[in-house]
């Protein structure tokens, strides 16, 4: 069966891969959006921390024998702690300065992290096997669906919407949003704003670490995996509109799907399509599809 001259299994396969990519875009841009919303900092180190998450999962398995399922919980926590340390020791001094310095600092951090891992492990990538429960694939007749990738899509959607729910619909989320809008007033109400800021950065970064663990079995665990991804994620955030939680999730998934479809019909353009869309959105709606101009 063919659609637009492409056999159905090929189309569905690429769509599925596109959804997987989109899931990573969504989680990472969600983390970026959360951090930006709260701290007004573009966290360039996000890609490096995602890579760190994948590496910690690999190290946990290789040196400590800790398996995938435990890593899914432990690694984001560890990466989150790393994030909190970064926030307390370095980022907090920059809040009063021009936002550009935050970008530059996190860029420097990204270089440091990437360089350290690269120096130790080279760039060729380390293998991380798919956990036994998720190996194999479902032969659906019209396509071949590897179980692990289906899991990635499912859990990413869950985590994204859970985050959205917490931020938009719970009291904790309300405090966070208040602290973002008006830190001084919120502080006056007795809410510990610096603590919220610190935890927010930690959480945003933990999301990146979580994505890293998810990525480890699919992509090779390599020091370059973050930098390859992060710039496309920036484009996603610009398209979606910074500071909008729902915007980043929807845009991330959407762009992953568009990328997947581009691979089918016009493969050469697949790496540039995200940026082309960004250019178009900038011309028509500079604030982003879901953004509110700050």
């Amino acid at each position: 069966m063919e659609i637009f001259g492409v056999p159905l299994p090929a189309l569905m396969g690429q769509l599925m891969l596109g959804l997987v990519s989109g899931s990573f875009y969504a989680i990472l841009s969600l983390g970026l959006a959360v951090i930006f919303g709260m701290l007004n900092i573009i966290n360039f180190a996000h890609g490096a921390l995602y890579m760190m998450g994948a590496f910690f999962a690999w190290m946990a398995l290789t040196y400590l024998g800790i398996g995938y399922w435990w890593s899914l919980v432990l690694v984001p926590a560890v990466v989150g702690v790393v994030g909190i340390v970064i926030e307390r020791t370095m980022l907090q001094w920059l809040y009063k300065l021009d936002h550009l310095y935050g970008l530059l600092l996190t860029f420097g951090l990204a270089l440091i992290i990437e360089g350290l891992f690269r120096s130790e492990y080279g760039v060729s990538g380390l293998p991380y096997t798919i956990p036994d429960e998720l190996t194999g694939a479902l032969d659906l007749g019209f396509m071949f669906l590897p179980k692990y990738r289906l899991w990635v899509i499912a859990i990413s959607l869950f985590v994204c919407f859970a985050t959205w729910f917490v931020i938009e619909k719970t009291q904790l989320g309300a405090y966070l949003r208040a602290a973002t809008e008006n830190p001084k007033l919120t502080q006056a109400f007795g809410i510990n704003v610096p603590l919220m800021v610190m935890l927010t950065y930690g959480f945003g970064v933990a999301l990146a670490g979580f994505a890293g663990v998810l990525a480890a079995p699919i992509f090779q665990v390599s020091p370059l995996m973050g930098s390859n991804l992060i710039i496309a994620v920036f484009a996603v955030v610009v398209i979606g509109g910074m500071g909008s939680i729902l915007g980043s999730i929807v845009t991330g998934l959407g762009l992953g799907i568009i990328e997947g479809l581009t691979k089918v019909f016009y493969a050469e353009a697949s790496s540039t399509v995200v940026f082309i869309i960004m250019a178009i959105v900038l011309l028509i709606r500079p604030a982003g599809l879901f953004g509110k101009e700050k």
Binding site: L100, Y101, L104, F107, L111, G115, I231, L283
Partner: protein
């Protein structure tokens, strides 16, 4: 800044550079000169107009490839090749600028980064760049049909002339009425708008000029190394030029030169000894500069000088 003192300083530096091939490896000095030009061009935008572009590698790379292509495939004379690269970068700068200026601050930076990345991917695909292989074997040719540039020493003096000329151009621009408006935009854009200036036009002009000079640096670099590769257009190069300017001192005219010299020399010396740790060192310099050394080397030097003079 004391005019006579800086004039003496420049003269001394020029003399040192003229004599440099006697003591130093000319190819390395040429590399420093090209990157110094790149950083000065970048600083025109960041230090003087207040716009952080994170995609300047696109201009470096575009000019590098265009120059390489016309010199190698079409056999153009060297001077026209350099000009072609510079103009190509300027054109790209006009395109980028028109899109990016719609946003401010951080968004501007991210847009330039993303646009540059798009250009990078286009270069990977385009056949004329040679993709991963790069554009190799670019002939240096003869300057004005007379001077054989295959000789490193001859080429050195050409590169020196180009960089000194461009530096002088930047100096004049900054101290001109146009430059004053750029500085005003950096300080307080709303004020400039209220004074009736078309701020967007000034920003765009500054962007194009910056892109053109960055392109000149890229074109010259192609001549020196006889090839153009994807590394020139990679976002690491964009990050490096930011670092050079930050380390040297943004908003100072000589800062980027100092920054470029330090970074290029450091990379060259350390690359063999510590391998990937070079990236770590670059990152650490970034972090330290942002946290504790924001005025950069030249900035701190000027501040120190002022403190001493006014004691």
């Amino acid at each position: 800044m004391n005019g006579r003192l800086s004039l003496i300083g420049y003269a001394a530096l020029l003399a040192a550079l003229l004599a440099a091939p006697l003591f130093l490896y000319p190819v390395l000095v040429m590399k420093v000169l090209c990157f110094a030009l790149f950083a000065c061009a970048f600083n025109l935008l960041l230090g003087y107009t207040g716009l952080l572009s994170f995609g300047h590698a696109a201009f470096l790379g575009t000019a590098a490839y265009v120059t390489g292509h016309v010199l190698k495939e079409w056999g153009w004379p060297t001077e026209l090749g350099l000009l072609a690269g510079t103009l190509a970068a300027a054109a790209l700068g006009w395109l980028f600028g028109a899109l990016a200026i719609r946003r401010q601050g951080i968004y501007f930076a991210m847009v330039t980064l993303a646009l540059a990345q798009m250009v990078y991917f286009l270069f990977i695909q385009a056949p004329f760049t040679g993709g991963e292989d790069g554009l190799q074997g670019v002939p240096r040719g003869h300057l004005f049909g007379v001077v054989d540039l295959a000789d490193d020493i001859n080429l050195y003096y050409l590169v020196l002339a180009i960089c000194v000329g461009a530096f002088w151009l930047i100096h004049r621009t900054i101290n001109s009425p146009f430059g004053q408006i750029l500085k005003a935009i950096r300080e307080n854009e709303a004020r400039v708008v209220s004074l009736g200036y078309d701020v967007a036009k000034y920003k765009l002009l500054a962007f194009v000029l910056s892109a053109a000079l960055a392109g000149l640096a890229g074109a010259t670099k192609t001549l020196v190394f006889k090839f153009a590769t994807l590394t020139d257009a990679h976002w690491h190069a964009s990050g490096e030029v930011v670092l050079m300017t930050l380390l040297g001192g943004m908003g100072t005219i000589f800062g980027p030169v100092v920054g470029a010299s330090v970074i290029v020399t450091l990379q060259n010396e350390l690359a063999d000894k510590v391998g990937s740790l070079v990236t770590v060192i670059m990152g650490a310099i970034f972090v330290i500069c942002v946290l504790a050394f924001r005025r950069g080397i030249v900035g701190e030097a000027i501040a120190l000088y002022r403190r001493m003079v006014w004691r």
